[in-house]
Each structure stands twice: as structure tokens, then as C-alpha cells.
Point group: C2
Chain length 320, copies 2
């Protein structure tokens, strides 16, 4: 259904900026290169270990701007509130948003509130949009990916999805797992300020690492190979996934991204990432190969190779 | 409740741009002066005479940018869709948005889609955000309002509210009234391009003309006097309001605005407005007086004066 809707939008709103198909749009306005992005948040429950809908709504937009190579500057916040929501719940969410915005160095400068009747919403839905400044001249996106590029991953995967699920489904064995929800702009600015030649970045939200790799391979029409052993998964996340029958490759994250750089820049990129507190567990997970087909393969811990497919349907609904 | 929530946001997100309290935020990024705004749309029903949630979501954001004196350039569109929504309904809304964006000269460059379970939404909620370029050096806002300023209204009032209500409540006597939903940017650009010294603009959405006047009078701490006879109300809107017990002064509009200019510019402003197809029914409805109190008074058709109050509570829920 998501694919159908996306094709519908792409055909109706047809324009060159939309067709960049990035996490946000990059355009030049009055001589200034800007990034612009939006996301709605319908996560359930509103509060989970390591975060809540408010901090997530800030991180999500900050991260989409960062993935465009932009420094996040301005944000909007729009709330759709279901009648009967306790004011203290709203206040907790608003305070969390304000704290997350302060930490990420963005200002929430405009907003909107709508109230819908009981039973016509679900507590709180939040939409945030963001504007950032692109201060470099790099083009960053799937079209810039080249054969030979190294692929870096900024940390361990799957924690956000399992943290939300542990509360939603009441899973005691997963209760110590905290969401990775975090702003990525500071780490990305460190890479850009060092003059790193970044070809493409993508944050690993809905659909996880697997879907992000497949999307980029398909957009760039180029094969990608990754090594399972280089992809960090927290022991408790791995355990929870085994019990639940999930593949951590497709579990949602809210503070992780992948980054494509020329092979010659790979070790410098890794060093830069690891020297930053938000990328201390970064690794090089694979590379782009030569070829004309957008296929992702993964070599397992046992040495076997498998094809990484696009997940059909949503593994976990309302995870963000 | 709205006031409470707005105070909550203002205190949590505290920053000088938010405190402008305009229809959008104006900020300078990388040397370019920009306006940035957002709104969510939860109107019920989705389709009504003269418009639908899709065209409205474009007009609303275009108009908020125009009210900042900005030329709308980029827009985002984010959908929260309730499971089970017929795809043809979604397609009608998306096509209407695309058409409205084309007519208003903005490009929808980024977006998002979330699906929520049946009973946790209400068909479609849309959020749009917009970025516009402010090409002049005027400051436009309540703080610029001066005693002596003339107040212009761009057309007749109350049609949007009554049009939506006629469908929602099945009112046959109101069925020929069409919403005034329309983009105002072209008309506003005509005024700005003519070098008109605009002090303040506000579009008359939720709360109508009455609430907009009171908000500006209170923000500017200055008394406003208007003449009822100069405020155009369509005969059928007037009739519907009388039957329903509504005051057209507080009925929502989606394509009308008020504009404050120095008295010396009033007749030129009126001429400019009337020469534009979207302002052909414009009028001068009143003026700003001297004084330190933010009070709005209206002289009725019979010559009596009354105080125009802020409406307590929402006259019509989910009108936008």
C-alpha cells in the first residue's frame, strides 16, 4: 500500500526536486541552498524506553535534514490531539520536544494545533517539518553512489523497534532495551566539516537497514554486498528478535544511518565517526560492486550468501 | 483549551521568532529572508461545495506564507490515513492538492504517509508546511500596526464555514453557498510589488474576521473600529447564519484576509485590491484609533456601537 501511495504522490506532484527521492528536498532559494523535510509521528505507545513521540518528532526531522547534508535550523510542530487527552500527557510530550530541540540546536518557530473528537484520533499525532542550510557543494543522494564505495553504519541496529514493541506487547525479556532515538546532525556535521566526500546517506527508520540498502541499490541501479559479522546487534535485541521471529535487519531505528563514501575515504570516515559520541560503535559493513542490477547480498556469519529483499508489508505498524 | 495549549507551546519552545506570533515565522537563513509555516487539516467532510481537504491544505499554507509577505515556493504534504480509506477518495484528494499547487505556483517537494488502524483516525488528516521567500524589507505584523491605519478586507465573509456546515448538517437552504477557499499569494504579491507600505496582514480562518481583529488589537495594544455596513456578507450566508444562530463575524473563511496600511495609502491599496480578480469585492472596513487598549468596536447598520469580543470556544469544530 505504501508503495502504491508513494507512486500516486510522485505522479500527481511530479517535479524535479521531489524526484530526488531523498529523506528531504534540496533547493536553492534566493541564493541559499536549503533542505526541507516533513514527517508525521503516530507511534504507539506515546512513551517508551529511551524516548517518546515528542523527542522522536524532533529527532526524525533533524535526521532527515542531516541526511541531506544540511544543518538543521528551523522546525515546525503541528499537533492533532484527540479530545479527552490529559493535559499532563500533552505537557510531558511538549517538554520532551522542547528539550530535544534544544539539544539538537534547532528552534521550533511555528506550529498548529487541531483537536478532533474522541474516537477520531489516538491521543496525539505530531507532524514536524524542518528547514536546514546546506553549506557545502556536494550532491548527496543515491545517484551519487559509485561502484567501489564503502558503506559505513553508525551503530548497532534494531533497538528502537524492539523498545517500542516491549511496551506495546508487554514483553518482559525486552524491557531493558532502550530506543536509539537520537539526533544525528552533530555527527553528520563532523563528517562534512572534515571535508569528507559523502556520496549518499540514509537514516534507518521504518524498514530498518535492510530496506534502506535495497532502496539505495535500486535507485542507484548498482549491486551492494554487506557482511553480517560487521553489523552490530545488541545481544538482547538479537534475543528478542529470535523469540518474536523478527529479522533485526528490518527492525526500525531512530538514531542510526548508513553513509556511502569512496573506498579511499573509508578508513578516515570510520575514524571520524568513531571519534564522535554518537558514532562510537560505527563500522564498515560492506561495499558497492560493479554491475547494473540493484541487488543487495549479505554474507552470513557462516560464510553463506543470501539476497536481502525489500520487506513486503510493514513488519511493525505505528513504530514511528 | 486552544489558548491553554498555545500558552503551553509558547512557554516550552520560547524563542524570538516564535514570539512574532504571526501566521508563520520569518527568519534569515544564509542571507535569504524566508517565511516558514505549517498547518494540519482535519476538516469534515473531506469534500464540500467549492473545495475539499486537499485544495484547502494547499491554500491554507500558501495564505499563511502570503500573510508574512512571502512568495510561496516549496511545500510539503504529510498524510495520516485511516485504514480502510477507499483509494479513489485518496486519489481525488491528491489530484485536488496537485491542481491547487499548480494554480498557486508552489511545488510540493517532500512528503510523508502514515497509516493508522481503523477507528484511530478519521479518513484523512493532512499536514502541509511551506517555505516562501520574503523579497522586501518590510516588517509585517501586529507590532507594526499604527494609530490611523486603515483596515482593508479582501472580500465577503463566512462562505467557507457555511459551505462546510451545509454538507455536514444537510442544510438544503445553504446548499448553493460555495467555500471561498482560494490562494491569496497572487493578490498579496500585487500589493507588495506596487510598493504598498503594509503594516499587518491576517487571513480569516478559524474564528473569522471578529477573532482576527481582536487578536491584532490585543497584540498591538491599540483600539480598532469597524463599520458593519462595509463588511460584505453574501445574502445566503446571512440567511443561513440567522437560521442557525451564528454571527458571520466569527464564521471561518479560507480565502479572505485583512490588511493594515497607513491612511494615506488606503485608497491606493483598495484600488490595487479591486483590480485583482481575488480582491474585486474588497472594501475599507475601518481604522485603528489612538489609545492604549486592545479593543475592537463595530458600528452597526443602525448606528449603534458594540464591542467585538474574542469568541470563547470554537463556533464550528473541524472547519479546517
Amino acid at each position: 500500500m505504501h508503495q502504491l501511495i508513494e507512486r500516486m504522490f510522485a505522479s500527481a506532484f511530479r517535479n524535479p526536486i521531489l524526484e530526488q527521492m531523498g529523506d528531504g528536498a534540496v533547493a536553492t532559494l534566493g541564493g541559499t541552498r536549503l533542505a526541507f523535510t516533513t514527517d508525521s509521528y503516530v507511534v504507539r505507545p506515546l512513551f517508551f524506553p529511551g524516548g517518546d513521540i515528542g523527542s522522536m518528532a524532533v529527532h526524525g526531522t533533524v535526521n532527515d535534514l542531516a541526511m541531506c547534508g544540511a544543518r538543521p535550523v528551523l522546525m515546525s510542530s503541528a499537533f492533532i490531539i484527540e479530545e479527552g487527552l490529559p493535559m499532563e500527557t500533552l505537557w510531558r510530550v511538549v517538554e520532551s520536544m522542547a528539550g530535544a530541540a534544544r539539544k539538537a540546536g534547532v528552534e521550533i518557530v511555528t506550529g498548529d494545533t487541531k483537536v478532533v473528537d474522541r474516537g477520531k484520533g489516538d491521543g496525539i499525532f505530531i507532524n514536524t517539518a524542518g528547514v536546514g542550510v546546506v553549506a557545502h557543494t556536494l550532491e548527496i543522494g543515491p545517484k551519487q553512489v559509485r561502484s567501489g564505495d564503502a558503506i559505513l553504519l553508525s551503530g548497532d541496529i534494531g533497538r528502537h523497534g524492539i523498545a517500542v514493541l516491549s511496551v506495546r506487547e508487554g514483553l518482559p525479556f525486552a524491557s531493558r532495551i532502550e530506543s536509539d532515538s537520537a539526533p544525528l546532525a552533530s555527527l553528520v556535521m563532523t563528517l562534512l566539516d572534515a571535508g569528507l566526500e559523502i556520496h549518499c546517506m540514509r537514516d534507518l527508520t521504518r524498514g530498518g537497514l535492510g530496506s534502506a540498502l535495497v532502496e539505495i541499490a535500486e535507485s542507484a541501479r548498482i549491486p551492494i554486498a554487506v557482511e553480517e559479522v560487521t553489523i552490530a546487534v545488541h545481544e538482547e535485541v538479537q534475543g528478542a528478535c529470535e523469540i518474536l521471529g523478527y529479522d533485526p535487519l528490518y527492525v526500525a531505528n531512530e538514531g542510526r544511518f548508513i553513509c556511502f563514501v569512496p573506498a579511499s575515504e573509508a578508513s578516515r570516515a570510520l575514524q571520524l565517526m568513531r571519534s564522535h559520541r554518537d558514532g562510537s560503535a560505527a563500522s564498515i559493513i560492506g561495499a558497492v560492486h560493479e554491475g547494473a542490477r540493484g541487488m543487495v547480498t549479505m554474507t552470513s556469519r557462516l560464510g553463506t550468501r543470501r539476497i536481502v529483499d525489500m520487506l513486503s508489508g510493514e513488519q511493525l505498524p505505528r513504530i514511528c
